[in-house]
Symmetry: C2
Subunit: 149 residues, 2 copies
Amino acid sequence: MMEQSYTIGRLAKDTGCKVQTIRYYEKVGLMPTPDRTAGNQRRYGARHIERLAFIRHGRQLGFPLEAIRQLLRLADSGEQPCDSADSIARSQLQEVESRIARLLALKAELNRMVEQCAGGQVADCRVIEVLSDHSQCLHVNHLEPEEAH
Amino acid sequence: MMEQSYTIGRLAKDTGCKVQTIRYYEKVGLMPTPDRTAGNQRRYGARHIERLAFIRHGRQLGFPLEAIRQLLRLADSGEQPCDSADSIARSQLQEVESRIARLLALKAELNRMVEQCAGGQVADCRVIEVLSDHSQCLHVNHLEPEEAH
DNA sequence: CTTGAACCTACAGTCGCTGTAGCTCCTATA
DNA sequence: TATAGGAGCTACAGCGACTGTAGGTTCAAG
């Protein structure tokens, strides 16, 4: 009913989010469906900006979309206690802490590998050797099967 | 030509890798195609075990499959200097270090959020509030758009 | 010889986007 | 008012690294 004045491109620019990503969030039900112009283009208002900022901020904090969905539900129905939000955040914190622990072990291992590599022939390459023979490394549990990158 | 005596299931058990994953590695050209029985089942030998162990170890160290592919090429053609292997490992180390840095910033932010949440109504919930308003957090750059989990 | 666990292929789904193709719309300028 | 072109639209494929499923076949123990 108020001015729904932002195009999707404007919204994208304002929140540092790609246009396709906004449409994706709408498709998976994180963003409410906006008004459309006569020509079928989306027009957004202030609440959409807030909503998208919330989502992006949650993503930057590493929350999976499902957690963000729950947090949005909690934020919308402002009556329940915030214990739920707290426990979502706590479990995200735990996740982050365990990721850090694993990455630190990893870093130590990679350091060892790289420092021992004398730059000679592959026959003597520590990097290849360590990878070939797990017993040569300190058997920290590295990463659990996690996607790289 | 020697005893190709391991079934895919055995190989999986020995290396802590799922059967489908081994078939996947074969499909994407990381594992060499094994011999087959008359009934078309895969049979593996010692070199396959070594190869798979190399791949898994690389994955545990967080190397993407593409890096592992390069490392395997280097290991196979044992003549070239190991500078390449070294630089692959170094860039993986850098990647890991930057991930750690980002996660530490993240952890601080989540800690702040969680500690301030008094367990009251959503109206006062710090978790939701901080997510809603980026200016309330310390503007560390969090994570760059990274997939969660 | 029978049973059933393990194998086979092929393909869909996961997560969170990102990119592309092939259109239509909106708006600024001439 | 006509036109150009940037921005929007939908639908779908692709990424990485698997994982799961359906529907069938093979192997080895009893």
